[in-house]
Amino acid sequence: MVTKNVENVHFWQVNHKIKNILEVRGITVLSSPKAWQELKWTRKFFEKEPKEGYFVWVRKQIDFPLTTCISIASPKIFQNLTNLLVIEKGIKTRANVLCNATQNQLCGTHKAKGKLILKENSYLEYNHFHKWGKKDLVSPDYEFILKENSHLIYNYKSLFSPKTLNLKTTIYNNKESSSNLNFIISALNSKIELKDTVFLKGKNSRGIIKLRLVGKENSQIRAKTAIFARAPGRGHLDCQGLLIDKGSKISLIPELFCEHKEAQITHEASIGKIDEEALGYLRMRGLTEKEAIDLMVTGFLKT
């Protein structure tokens, strides 16, 4: 996990304080306000002057993953972040991004607006981990702009859910680009709103959204996913929910908008409950009911 060795984290912020910026050859790392001041070209991406957050610019090929860590460590902190990540042409890289609360009852708010630009022929594997406390309010809004022949794999994982999570993700796929989104969310007494949208803007662009959602202990999950095909591209939505108890609710709303006759977009969605036969089977292998359910949930999230 990213926090195990914070010295190697390229951008590390706790509450509102930047604890560390590690700039190495090939990448520029600045706070977003500083980038706004010093690199005028970033302003068109920030839209308005940022208050806090990071700017990472991958200029040259690097052979290590980018890492960022933004934490809430004190009660009632309100973070309002604006992040910008720019991957230059032809660069292939991986980013491990952690946002978390260091304790369970901090009642923090984490608001983040992010823009990620993948320039022509670039590749990004973006691993985004959330680990929040039970009373936190979290609302990230990320936009990915994929230039020609760029490729994105976006893995989002939230196994320690906040009180509320409003997660909005928008992908713009240009010509020959591809995006592959894998979202794993386990909600425990949480209210979760997801809105994922992929725009297939360019010829032969491809987009896949895969959601695996688990609702436990009075959780409410609402996931709205959409693909807009505006060019001859291909897209697929794969949304699956698993309800663990009677008090939880999941609603999946997959939408397909085809605006080009040669585009091909499809979806599949299902919501199920724990398979009683499989539960009995695992208990008859010596696992307690809770252990068996946990194992089945782990398995479900991997499918």
């Binding site: 398979d275 009683e276 036969e277 499989a278 009995g280 089977y281 695992l282 208990r283 008859m284 292998r285 010596g286 696992l287 307690t288 009911e289 252990e291 194992l295 089945m296 782990t298 398995g299 479900f300 999230l301 991997k302 499918t303």
Partner: protein, 237 residues
């Protein structure tokens, strides 16, 4: 030490609101190999699942004892802790969970795996062939360090060679090590390999006879069919 490993008294069990077991009396000693023969839907699998405590089946009346301890109301996992295990006839698939992962959680002892190594990194029972399921089941059960293994139709859906292979493993890993084995089967092919000490016949939720000579029972069933078992002159009494 209690003489009986497993003792069942007047067990009445319902499944889906229907009475399936209608007063079973049954016992097994330590190290014993026993078979229950019976036609389809006679209640054999229900008995196996009731012994393991599958919540799908409701015990209406009767008692189950294991090593002298009353386990009638124990949850399945506690029964496994005591050493009771079941090889399922049709085990369900557990999506996303590899066999090795499950073994890592349940194993009570290290086992040497000769057959089925290739199954370890596959999702449990997902797209397994009939033979692969049986091998996977045996691997799991052996890792539980059992005192009693119930084999539910272990020989169904297997070709002769696979039956031989499975029987050889059971003999080497269980029978020869004095682990008690209860074989549930409707066609009895595996009995020739495992040579049970006793055979019971179960029909319509009742155990109707007990016999030491499994060959005699098989011969009778072959000749008269299960329907005639109740009137069978060799088995009666």
């Amino acid at each position: 030490m209690n003489k009986f490993l497993l003792k069942i008294q007047n067990l009445i069990v319902k499944g889906n609101e229907k009475e399936i077991l209608k007063g079973i009396n049954f016992q097994m000693e330590r190290g014993e190999v026993r078979a229950i023969l019976g036609p389809n839907a006679s209640g054999k699998s229900t008995l196996a699942h009731a012994i393991l405590g599958n919540p799908k089946y409701k015990i209406i009346k009767g008692k189950i004892f294991f090593e002298g301890e009353k386990i009638t109301n124990f949850p399945p996992e506690k029964r496994v802790d005591l050493g009771i295990t079941l090889v399922w006839q049709s085990p369900p698939a557990i999506k996303g969970v590899k066999l090795s992962q499950l073994l890592g959680k349940i194993s009570r002892k290290k086992i040497k795996i000769k057959e089925g190594k290739e199954l370890l990194e596959r999702e449990i029972n997902l797209d397994f062939s009939g033979g692969e399921k049986k091998v996977s089941e045996l691997i799991q059960v052996l890792s539980l360090k059992p005192k009693l293994v119930i084999l539910d139709e272990i020989d169904s859906g297997l070709d002769i060679k696979k039956v031989e292979m499975v029987a050889e493993t059971i003999k080497k890993e269980l029978v020869d090590k004095k682990v008690s084995v209860l074989i549930i089967t409707h066609w009895g092919q595996i009995l020739g390999y495992l040579k049970p000490d006793f055979v019971n016949v179960m029909i319509n939720g009742e155990i109707i006879c007990q016999e030491k000579d499994y060959k005699k029972v098989l011969k009778t069933i072959k000749k008269y069919g299960y329907e005639k078992c109740r009137e069978c002159p060799f088995l009666a009494g």
